[in-house]
Symmetry: C2
């Protein structure tokens, strides 16, 4: 199986490298071509365009920033070139609605859209420790399973509907962002009581919240290490927009997403786009005069 | 060391039993006396009143429902009887402000108030697997350490200020309640997209949220098992009140506590006091027409 890989950012680069290490033949494309250099040294072929990354009837992976960039890549020409029995494995965090539109467009060209967004920071991508949410055509899922296994430690199947895996990913990010806001407010309460918030977070993450999300991000919030970027503030704000869009499309209210939106807007307005997403904590801290 | 133990509810009963099993001599008191019977069989002495539970200069543990019940127990006569070098180990979830008031009143009688609220459900209490947040006088903390160890798997010291351990406990419960609301809203989004929310929660709690709080309560929310009571809705609503009181006293806003309050009020108004606290999820579900 020849694989086209489009998008060599903080996540895409280590994922593509793992596919090369697993022995796959890769054509790689990135808007900033220089980023591809170490992969070319490792045997990848440089594609000159998203279209050039495709081998008809084979697999193309997209790991690109947002809906707009994905829509730009997935032109009619691109879909036609992928053609019959081709698979588009869409691994970035995009909306369920673009996934559903693309699934229909792929179907019209005889190809398949598979939703496969991932959980895990860049370090997890490098270590083949991602978790993958998967949905789409059953036969196509079976065909790409070895490819997914070369990048991940776990695959969770959400059935055949193209949007489902993206909803699972967005709902997960939503619960994560809500946890960050909750930690932030809780930390503020302890600090206003003259306490050492690091001791508080350390206690929580050794007891009822002994999982990596709370340990990693909670420690950053208590230690105010907002410039250690695991996941950028701007990207988290983008995810929050996708979450609110999903709520709108589902016709429901998500009060916690609206609260997070207030924090993200304020943070972006104050120039925090390039900080870590835990800088959401500055909202509660500043509102408390800390 | 003779120990008085006041409050033999779902938490206090197994905690008192562990102290007996560890070889301590106990006088036990509970408003409903019949609950003490199994402890008397195991060698405890029945106290006829909170005052009668006290041995002067020794240790008395309170594990009672709320500030009002604690204030009623801790009369001037009771404090005077505990007297010089007596220790009051206050283990239930009460406000930092009553703790601070009691600390001063104890000091006036030559005794010490130690804050020692716990994390963990009744099953953890039975298994000596509680986590204890501790604050107060250093020498008194040293004196009670073996007693705490007979009930817990971990002790977290928050210094000498009487309110600190209670703030840590309340802030922890606040973050927990916020997590329940976040899971509830996330589950609602998946259900409105026609997905199996149990599969969604199962994925999350095997990946980024692989800790007991999310596993136990998340599973209940997705499975709508709101009548399996681990922690009652009414008690969670009481804790939410204490959290908002702490925010008021600290002079800060906790938007997530206000949102949880809306859910608790609505749930209580709809007669859910005796359900599990995860019934907070019915708020988001009902708002979504589910």
């Amino acid at each position: 199986m020849h694989i086209g890989f489009i998008g060599l950012g903080r996540m895409g680069f280590p994922m593509a490298r793992n596919l090369l290490d697993a022995g796959y033949s890769l054509s790689v494309y990135n808007r900033t071509q220089s980023k591809a250099a170490p992969l070319l040294d490792a045997g990848a072929r440089l594609a000159s365009s998203p279209l050039d990354a495709i081998t008809p009837g084979q697999l193309v992976v997209t790991m690109i920033s947002d809906d707009a960039a994905l829509a730009e890549v997935a032109s009619d020409e691109w879909l036609q070139h992928l053609g019959n029995s081709g698979i588009h494995l869409s691994m970035s965090t995009v909306s369920a609605s673009i996934a559903r539109q693309l699934a229909t467009r792929h179907e019209n060209h005889g190809s398949v859209y598979l939703a496969a967004p991932v959980f895990g920071p860049p370090a997890a991508a490098a270590a083949r420790k991602l978790w993958i949410c998967l949905s789409g055509d059953a036969a196509a899922k079976e065909r790409v399973r070895p490819v997914l296994e070369a990048m991940s430690q776990g695959i969770y199947d959400f059935g055949t509907e193209a949007g489902a895996a993206h909803i699972a990913k967005l709902a997960g990010n939503f619960i994560l962002q809500s946890a960050l806001e909750a930690i932030s407010e809780g930390v503020t309460l302890t600090e206003k009581n003259g306490m050492d918030s690091s001791a508080f977070v350390s206690m929580l993450t050794q007891t009822i919240f002994n999982c990596p999300v709370y340990q990693n991000y909670g420690g950053k919030i208590a230690g105010r290490r907002f410039n250690e970027v695991t996941f950028s503030f701007a990207t988290a704000a983008k995810d929050n927009r996708l979450i609110r869009q999903a709520a709108e499309e589902a016709g429901i209210a998500l009060p916690l997403a609206d609260l997070a939106n207030q924090r993200f807007r304020a943070g972006l307005a104050r120039g925090r786009a390039e900080m870590d997403m835990t800088a959401i904590a500055l909202g509660a801290a500043e509102d408390a005069g800390l």
